[in-house]
């Protein structure tokens, strides 16, 4: 769809006002000069597809139909694209070549790096399978920006949890050494408001201010606990309305936007269901145990649950340790010296 210049400008001005930004007319004109909506290519690696589904759930700054028809030109997304097979793969390649240096590459999921990346194949080009790793290495440097949507793409996340046989890695670590700017948008799944607004920010004003984790400062600077409405309230157990710090809530060590934006059009959020934050936006997610204070829901010595008939010793908690540091982060990224296990037969080189 050709962009309607007037509509685009109108929207751009409104977005800039809403974001309290100065409108950069030069950048806007570059976007408009492309004579198309700003192109986006979305690749799925080792993922549950939850970030795609979350993207479909967006309501702010606008709904997904509006995003797709008037804001960006989504050249490829495996869940949405009409055509299967080689023509799907050609669509990716054509878009990347045509819009080299202009498009945004969205990476969903982690990138398996063991065995030359063969734990994740995107599709075939000329009967030759293209791995996610190859695709990110090929198209990442051609992109203007890379957006890591969700915790797996940002930090490895669930996909990179030990034992991590496929040696899943983040987009940033796979693209290490290249100069393409990367923005990480962790949480599981990605917060759709943050995703869409960041795409628009990149198009309109360039890379926003980032934290050391390469996450946009405006969304990830503060911990959930710092503005949690339950901060300072009486401690509660799971299923109760109170501060959940005593049952392992990760809010104090998790930087995310949940308190302000909540989820699903602002309907609710995890703590709103009397369930502790599991720290899904953290570089260390998922820690072992997830509820890492050691005071898991099993811990209360005053349990009145009569229908539950455990064989447990009454004072022991079910969590193996009460560490506050969670899982070791060394399993998060593939060590180049580590032997891939199990060994996978290498396909003929794709190059």
């Amino acid at each position: 769809m050709k962009i309607n210049r007037r509509d685009f400008l109108k929207w751009a001005v409104a977005a800039s006002v809403a974001l309290n930004l100065d409108l950069d007319m030069d950048k806007l004109n570059i976007v408009l000069a492309a004579d198309t909506d700003p192109p986006v290519i979305w690749l799925e690696g080792s993922t549950c597809a939850g970030c795609t589904i979350s993207f479909l759930n967006v309501t702010k700054p606008t709904t997904v139909d509006n995003v797709l028809t008037t804001k960006i030109s989504l050249k490829y997304n495996a869940a949405v694209s009409a055509k299967s097979g080689e023509s799907a793969m050609q669509a990716i390649d054509k878009a990347a070549s045509t819009y080299k240096g202009q498009f945004i590459l969205v990476v969903e999921g982690a990138i398996p790096t063991a065995a030359n990346g063969e734990y994740c194949i995107l599709g075939e080009v000329n009967n030759d399978p293209l791995t996610m790793k190859e695709a990110v290495l090929k198209y990442g440097p051609m992109a203007k920006y890379v957006v890591a949507a969700g915790t797996c793409a940002s930090f490895g996340g669930i996909s990179a949890t030990a034992p991590n046989t496929p040696q899943c890695s983040s987009a940033e670590s796979v693209l290490k050494g290249t100069s393409v700017p990367i923005v990480n948008l962790p949480s599981c799944p990605v917060n759709p408001t943050i995703l869409v607004q960041t795409l628009l920010d990149l198009i309109l004003t360039g890379v926003p201010s980032l934290t050391t984790n390469k996450t946009p400062t405006k969304y990830y600077e503060a911990t959930i606990h710092s503005t949690c409405p339950r901060k300072g309230t009486t401690e509660g157990k799971i299923g109760e309305t109170g501060c959940l710090g005593g049952v392992g809530c990760n809010g104090p060590k998790t930087s995310a936007y949940c308190v302000s934006s909540k989820w699903n059009n602002g309907i609710n959020w995890c703590i709103g269901t009397n369930s502790p934050c599991i720290g899904c936006a953290n570089p260390t997610f998922p820690t072992n145990p997830l509820l890492s204070s050691g005071a898991s829901p099993t811990a209360s010595p005053t349990s009145t649950n009569s229908s539950n008939t455990p064989t447990a010793t009454p004072t022991k908690t079910a969590t193996p340790t009460s560490t506050k540091t969670g899982a070791p982060t060394s399993t998060k990224t593939a060590s180049p010296t580590k032997t891939p296990a199990p060994t996978v037969t290498t396909k003929p080189s794709a190059t």
Binding site: S46, C48, A49, G50, I53, L56, N57, V64, Y76, A78, A79, V80, S81, A82, K83, S84, G85, A88, A95, A115, E118, Y119, C120, I121, L122, E124, P129, I158, T161, N164, P166, C188, I238, G239, W263, N264, I267, N268, C270, T273, N274, S275, P286, L290, L291, S296, P297, S303, N305, S307, N308, P310, A312, K316, A318, T319, T343, T345, T346, K347
Partner: protein, 470 residues
């Protein structure tokens, strides 16, 4: 001269799927293979963790049916503890799972499957698309496209409705061993009902009309893609605290007769799968030892069988086993059964939301056992889902997951029987090998979810070079 069609990737599914078929000189499919293209190590990720972690982590198997994984997981953990949740917990789980079923079924019909039958908007990401065997006239097609967009809104609202009790979707916070942690207010219940009414109107109006339109225009698809005709359902939506009575009952339809589900008859085959772990094991005893390059194997999906036979699972199996729909087994029967269950679920949610009441009572403080084992069976949108857990030393010592797509997209079993999707493809005539929409219609009718297929899936090794058809 045989020719091969390779569809890699199959888009408009969840996850990474490749389908290859061999055609004879009449362009009729004589053999088929389905291959997953992503390996995830989920069952090993869960080990040496507190069992409760599985309730959160297994949801991340699938962003489309996370609630079903949460439910299967908490049922398995509760089963190991000998615990039964309250009726309020059961009904709140139904409402959350029901909301996710509705969004999933609407997503499937409009956004995953429809583009095999209609022309999408002529822009990315809908173009390039298919123009083979598009039978709708311009006006019908235009209505469909409009409804495609409306359906985006309705499925989003189904998730918003679910999040009232679930915290967020995908990936809920409130479904834990012990029940559902949410304490709904009267305002929450009222908001839920408002959403449900709007969504129900869409289902019984727009969705119903569009399903009927497709079914009448493509009525030859009532005779295409049957497969074996064997069906299995674990049952879903408990109607009492015991879990014995369900909205969709469990059961099996094998060789034209209906039988009671007996989980000990579920056996996983691995002869044609890239595993060296023992074949023919029940999931409770099964292990997962990957062995890429294993001689003779062509897929990383295991091949679950019931009484030794391949079985299809999903909306049609649920409807059939429950006696709701027994007209036939085909592409279009699957589409119609999926519509009918969506309507049925929404109708029953109107009852459940009136029964849950406000405030606490949905969650009972829960302690996982230090040792024990259990299983949890439920249904995801695309079929039967089971989790099996063993606990020792207060942590998970074994976890096995059998997902619906393991049933549907499985490879051949040890006896050489094709998997259900493979079988459904065989015998199909392809009019235009450049645009094999017939194959896509069949594959999509199963709503395959490769994200879900967990240990199913495989790095492709040498099988590609071996997969040469002369």
């Amino acid at each position: 001269m045989a020719t091969t069609i390779v569809l890699d990737p199959v888009t408009r599914i969840e996850g990474h799927l490749k389908v290859s078929v061999v055609l004879d000189s009449n362009n009729t499919v004589t053999s088929a293979k389905s291959t997953g293209n992503l390996y995830r190590d989920f069952e090993n990720i869960l080990l040496k963790r507190p069992p409760i972690d599985a309730a959160f982590i297994t949801q991340r198997i699938c962003g489309v049916c996370p609630v079903s994984h949460a439910v299967a997981s908490v049922k398995a953990i509760e089963n190991a503890a000998g615990f039964k949740p309250s009726l309020k917990a059961v009904l709140m789980r139904n409402l959350i799972q029901g909301a996710d079923f509705i969004q999933s079924n609407i997503l499937h019909f409009y956004h995953l499957a429809a583009l095999d039958f209609i022309k999408g908007p002529q822009m990315s990401p809908w173009a390039p698309g298919y123009n083979q065997d598009i039978r709708l006239n311009d006006s019908q097609n235009s209505t469909f496209v409009t409804n495609y967009v409306t359906a985006l809104t309705i499925r989003r609202k189904a998730h918003e409705m679910g999040a009232i009790l679930a915290g967020k979707l995908p990936h809920v916070s409130s479904v834990l061993p012990g029940g559902v942690t949410t304490s709904p207010t009267s305002s929450d219940i009222s908001t839920f009902k408002t959403y449900l009414n709007e969504i129900s109107s869409f289902i019984t109006g727009t969705y119903k009309n569009d399903a009927n339109t497709l079914a009448s225009i493509y009525n030859d698809y009532y005779k295409i893609g049957k497969g074996y005709g064997n069906l299995i359902s674990y049952g879903v939506f408990d109607l009492d605290a015991s879990g014995n009575k369900k909205l969709f009952s469990s059961g099996v339809h094998t060789n034209s007769s209906d039988v009671t589900l007996n989980t000990s008859k579920i056996i996983e085959n691995v002869k044609y799968s890239w595993y060296t772990s023992s074949s023919k094991q029940n999931p409770a005893d099964g292990t997962t030892t990957p062995s890429p390059g294993k001689s003779g194997a062509y897929s990383w999906m295991k091949a679950p069988r019931y009484s030794g036979m391949p079985h299809e699972t999903g909306s049609l199996a649920r409807a059939w086993v429950n006696g709701d729909y027994k007209k036939g087994i085909s592409v279009m029967d699957r589409m119609m059964a999926r519509y009918l269950e969506t309507e049925k679920i929404a109708t029953n949610m109107k009852t459940w939301i009136n029964e849950i009441g406000t405030g606490s009572g949905g969650y009972t403080e829960f302690k996982s056992p230090d040792s024990g084992s259990g299983f949890g069976l439920t249904e995801a949108g695309r079929g039967a889902l089971g989790h099996w857990i063993s606990i020792s030393g207060a942590t998970t010592s074994k976890y096995q997951i059998v997902t619906p797509t393991c049933w549907n997209a499985s490879p051949k079993d040890d006896s050489g029987n094709f998997g259900p999707i493979e079988k459904a493809l065989i015998g199909t005539k392809v009019a235009n090998t450049e645009q094999p929409v017939e194959l896509l219609r069949i594959v999509h009718s199963f709503d395959p979810c490769l994200a879900c297929a967990v240990h199913v899936i495989s790095p492709e090794g040498e099988e590609l070079s071996k997969f040469i058809i002369q």
